[in-house]
Amino acid sequence: MGRHFSTKLLSGLALATALTAAAIASPASAANLKMAWKQDATGLDPHKQPAFSSIRLLELIYEPLVRFDKSLTIVPAVAASWEFAPDAKQLTFKLNPAAKFQDGKPVTAADVKASFERVLDEKTAAVARANFLSIASIETPDDKTVVFKLSQPDVPLLAAMASINAAIVPAAEITAGTIGTKALGSGPFKLDKWEPNSKETLSANKDWAGGKVNIDGIDISVLPDETAILAALRTKQIDFALINDPLVATLVPKETSLILNRAPVLAYHVLQLNASRKPMDNLAVRQAISCAVDRQDVLDTASVGEGKVTGPLTMPGYTSDASTLFCYKKDLAKAKKLMADAGFANGFSATVIAANGEPATAAAEAQVLQSQLAEIGVKLNIKMMELNVYVDTWLKGDFDMAVALNGGRADPYPMYNRYWTKTGNLQKVAGYIDDTLDSLMQKGRVETDVAKRKVIFSDLEKHLVEVSPWVWLYTSYSYTAQQKTVSGFEPTPEGSLFGLTKVKLN
């Protein structure tokens, strides 16, 4: 009995290892880039999907009129050229004649008009609608020109048009209502197959107007566990991968066969204080908290130093030197004095909410902040929440404090108009508003001169940090990892994967 039993077990194991090795060797399609990410897209309708994981996929399939390049300057996409009228109340676009949809039909002005009308129509519930309210009417003098008539000058409009949420879709598809199910865009790649939360197969769009793509296609697999992604990279099962968690990303450089691309992003880690709730309604308390937080220490512990401390403005051209901002160097004495002045000498207790795993460093940040604020008597109770429960609570502003990672924009106005303007939709979440903020925002919106806009918005930043409704912490990086055999990928501050169009497999 004994002998028979052990030999059966050993032979079973030997078979297992042999099969595993054999299965790895079989190559996927030759010149396809094998890629993996943790968070899969949640939908295919470019006008409705704000989720970062969806935008990365849709940027490869659809194209907006214009887009940002590496240094966030606006470059042509579907539109070859554009210009504001002198009074900035009219914006004319000339379409690239070679631009064609993936079914071969050329992109016409009518498609552009239909797309923007779809975005503006409330029934579509398009995400970026708020940024285009200044469009009064859209005229198409000929097939290749589109004229936007504006109700008031709106400089950030052009930046807003550079988002995939304003992608150009075929008018015929709109009428047929198949935008959400069939992915037909004018972008560099065609979506051949999509199994949500499992895998996507993309093939290169031969007659893409934007130039030649060096790879035949992309096989994307969804690996929910980032250690698995690292393991897949190590065993050459994938050529390219997106990584969220800095703890995993920092392991990539240790592998000789892998390269880690690190690109600073506009999204900012922040500790939001709810100024509409006692005792955070007291300015001194908010300032005390801001002074008690050691931002560099939070960055070093939660994200192992991967990132840099930042003020409210994170986009190139507007960022300022963080050390000049109010209380950006930890000053415990000042913090304690402020607390005493506010009558909270022995502190108070509050709850901070954070979403589970979104961002990956949320729990760590909460725990570091908890121990830092304990030094001025603020006893924090951490409440980790499942993502959607967090979003629901966050939108209702139903929290004392919240650890968050909020998206950034290339232009300060669309980034903060929802929080720091009197008519902002997310006023409840910001929990604070005053006239200086509102007037600075309006001035910034209409000001067309870039230098003057920089001055306006840096005043806004100084004021925000002083009034400290939120404690801005740091910006981190978006990571992509690739085998040494992959070259030519350029990351962008918006974390877009558009750089894959330039990638070569050698």
């Binding site: 703890l247 392991l251 070093d300 512990t301 725990q367 409440k383 980790m384 499942e386 429960v389």
Partner: protein, 279 residues
């Protein structure tokens, strides 16, 4: 008393008993913060220190002493495990007993509800409860308790049905003993044996489930630590700081091993049929 001597004379009882005893001591020390370092104290300069004489099991991402957090973690996991299993036992016993005793309609109703809970995938049931009530120690307790109540109901109902037909219950009926007297003195007392065995096994399962929930981010909430949460957090640091995974993994494995061995010993001791075999 007699039971302890019996447990320690049984081969697997000896091993299981000592393990569980050690864990109970560690859990008590942990719960009363009698640990080498303050488990919540962040010595951030010593982040991710390898095990040394100062930090016996090294430090975690925030420079907290892993040994102290492990002791606190054992306390927390036991707290969650014991209270969840206690809840499930009480609920299961009441439902199982009444179902066995009153039979027919009530029995049908109770067992159908239990079937519904059993047919529902366990981890998803726990997930739904936690998502509704928000994660936290007591919601995990409730979630695990609700998942185990059907199992306990069945473990109680089976033997209760067989005891109900035993002659000493008939005798009690002939005196006209009251229903509650028969339920408590005759049925309940004789269910102690199968229940104790099930409790020890359920404690082992609850540790596993708590670890599973923490892995999905729904178990114990930071900065508190439970064995499951420490395991889950160590996932992405597996290569840079392996001690963060090894110590909690061993701790959870040995504690469950202890419970299983104890459960086996109790089954042999309390179940008269097998008592003769393990002379």
């Amino acid at each position: 008393m007699g039971m302890l001597r019996a447990i320690f004379s049984h081969p697997s009882g000896r091993i299981g008993g000592t393990i569980v005893l050690i864990y109970v001591v560690v859990a008590v020390l942990g719960l009363f913060d009698l640990t080498p370092h303050n488990p919540l104290q962040q010595y951030r300069i010593d982040r991710l220190h390898a095990p040394s004489i100062v930090y016996w099991m090294g430090t975690d991402l925030f420079g907290r002493d892993v040994a102290s957090r492990l002791m606190k973690g054992v306390g927390q996991s036991f707290l969650v495990g014991v209270s969840a299993v206690a809840l499930a036992t009480i609920a299961g016993t009441i439902l199982g007993l009444t179902a066995a005793w009153f039979g027919r309609l009530w029995d049908g109703l109770v067992m159908r509800i239990m079937d519904v809970l059993l047919a529902f995938p366990a981890i998803l049931l726990a997930l739904l409860i936690i998502a509704i009530a928000g994660p936290g120690t007591w919601t995990s307790v409730a979630a695990i308790a609700i998942v185990y109540t059907p199992i306990f109901t069945r473990v109680v109902r089976g033997p209760a049905l067989s005891i109900k037909s035993r002659e000493f219950v008939d005798a009690a009926r002939t005196f006209g003993s009251s229903k509650s007297y028969i339920l408590t003195r005759h049925l309940l007392l004789n269910l102690v044996a199968p229940l104790t065995v099930q409790v020890t096994l359920a404690l082992a399962w609850s540790l596993l489930t708590e670890a599973g929930l923490s892995f999905l981010g729904l178990g114990t909430q930071p900065p508190a630590s439970s064995l499951g949460l420490m395991l889950a957090d160590s996932r992405n640091l597996m290569e840079t700081a392996p001690w963060l995974l090894i110590f909690p993994a061993i701790a959870i494995m040995i504690s469950i091993l202890g419970f299983n061995l104890l459960g086996d010993a109790l089954r042999d001791i309390l179940d008269p049929k097998t008592r003769s075999r393990t002379a």
